[in-house]
């Protein structure tokens, strides 16, 4: 497939959310939203996305570009760039595992162009922002001309590369409960080289210990199922158990039953299955070490 030019399209650069939603209502079915464009531009060049009639650029909608600290909740606009999240003291302090994920996401150039909304809406099972947001229990606000709805991040990922968004809808806010007190968190990923790579497996963990028992744990896994997933059975297994190496290992074994990795040109299912276990173990350990006041 030759790869140089994008076929022409009609281009909208609305400056307000209302304007955009009206456009989506009318034309959403025949077009796509663009923010940073790091994914869509490639897809258009390779024809992975067939030529579009319309493209709606949302980067001029300043009301979508914010990080708001509301104490117990952070609200992030969808067009906030990865680099902004990486540099934000608020994110670092209250959603550390998200900061950790964007710190080494892709390359500097991509971090300067790509947005958190774009990363989520690509619905790639390997999206690096998904596991931390999932482990933090994030919710997503979706709007169209008729109103808004809030969905859990789990529900947002419908299937491989498909979100819960209708053609007339836009992801307008990422609502992140702050990391609660007494928790530690960690994000880890694995690639084929030291330089950046599409994650072969990525994991985000939040854990709280009471005495030496696992009081609460959240484990979110990426690249090992059609969508990013919470390892619910594994969490249930660990809760209340003693925080020992043996139990952590048994937990990672349990996680094996909650994933459906595939073999593709990047890695085999067998490798993903193996390495995600190690990532879970290492993330839990790292998260436990980071518990504030411990």
């Amino acid at each position: 497939m030759v790869l140089l030019k994008i076929k022409p399209f009609k281009y909208f650069q609305p400056s307000s959310l209302t304007e955009l939603l009206t456009l989506l209502e009318k034309f959403g079915g025949e077009g796509k939203i663009i923010a940073g464009g790091t994914e869509l531009v490639v897809q258009l060049k390779t024809r992975e996305v067939p030529p579009l009639k319309y493209i709606f650029d949302i980067e001029n909608i300043s009301e979508l570009d914010y990080i708001r600290d509301e104490g117990e909740t952070l609200r992030i606009g969808p067009i906030v760039k990865h680099r902004t999240l990486k540099a934000s003291p608020v994110i670092r302090e209250k959603a550390f595992i998200l900061a950790e994920a964007v710190h080494s996401l892709a390359t500097p150039q991509i971090r300067n162009m790509g947005t958190i909304g774009g990363n989520l809406c690509s619905a790639s099972p390997a999206a690096d922002t998904a596991p931390p947001l999932m482990a933090l229990g994030a919710k997503l606000k979706i709007q169209n001309t008729k109103g808004e709805r809030i969905v859990s991040i789990e529900d947002f990922f419908a299937s491989v590369k498909r979100t819960a968004l209708e053609k007339s809808e836009l992801l307008t806010e990422i609502i992140v409960p702050r990391e609660p007190n007494g928790y530690g968190g960690a994000f880890m990923k694995v690639g084929r080289r030291l330089g950046h790579d599409i994650s072969l497996a990525n994991v985000a963990v939040m854990v709280r210990l009471k005495k030496n028992l696992v009081d609460d744990v959240r484990i979110a896994l990426g690249s090992v199922a059609p969508t990013p997933v919470r390892a619910i059975k594994t969490e249930a297994f660990l809760k209340g158990k003693e925080y020992t190496e043996k139990n952590i290992r048994r937990a990672s074994e349990t996680a094996s039953t909650e994933i459906r990795p595939i073999s593709d040109i990047r890695a085999s299912a067998e490798y993903r299955r193996d390495v995600v276990k190690s990532l879970i173990e290492m993330s839990i350990q790292k998260a436990a070490e980071r518990i504030r006041g411990s």
Binding site: K10, Y11, G37, K53, N112, M113
Partner: protein, 162 residues
């Protein structure tokens, strides 16, 4: 058949204001190379994976082959052509020449732009900082070490001058 519109953009290019019309499906790289004849930024992969097209937008490195030209409206764009001149080279350019860092040179403009952004933000980068800053720029000739050494040397010169 989609009727093609033109988008009017106004931005600063290498220090000078510029106003023109671009096609929506035009990338910044297309605009720079084929319309404005600024051929210093290179087309290595056309997919934002090699960094040969790196330019600075509001001081930050971006892959111009992925940037729709309309997006530079209101922004400050710096390409390699706007960095130094024969009598007044940027310390990075100087360091690259003096240390025989440049081999084929195809990656060089992009890497210099990424390095400039690094030094502007972090005047005393460590080896790891440099590796990360140029991690989105592929080089097949040098093995990166001569480049990293030149950037380190340039960082010493720029911090001396502060």
């Amino acid at each position: 058949m989609v009727k093609e519109d033109f988008v009017e953009i106004e931005f600063t290019l290498n220090g000078s204001p510029i106003k023109l019309e671009v096609k929506p499906n035009e990338t910044l790289l297309d605009l720079l190379r084929y319309r404005l004849k600024l051929t210093g930024s290179k087309r290595g992969c056309n997919r934002g994976e090699c960094g040969a097209c790196t330019v600075l937008m509001n001081g930050k490195p971006v892959d111009s082959c992925l940037m729709l030209a309309s997006k530079v409206n209101g922004k400050d764009v710096l390409t390699i052509e706007g960095l130094g001149s024969p009598g007044m080279l940027h310390p990075l350019q100087e360091a690259f020449i003096v240390n025989n860092t440049v081999q084929c040179g195809f990656c060089t403009p992009g890497i210099i732009m990424s390095a400039k952004a690094l030094l502007d933000e972090n005047p005393n980068p460590s080896r790891e900082d440099i590796q990360e800053a140029i991690s989105g720029n592929l080089c097949r000739c040098t093995g990166y070490l001569p480049i990293m050494e030149a950037i380190l040397e340039a960082s010493r010169k720029t911090s001396e001058n502060r």
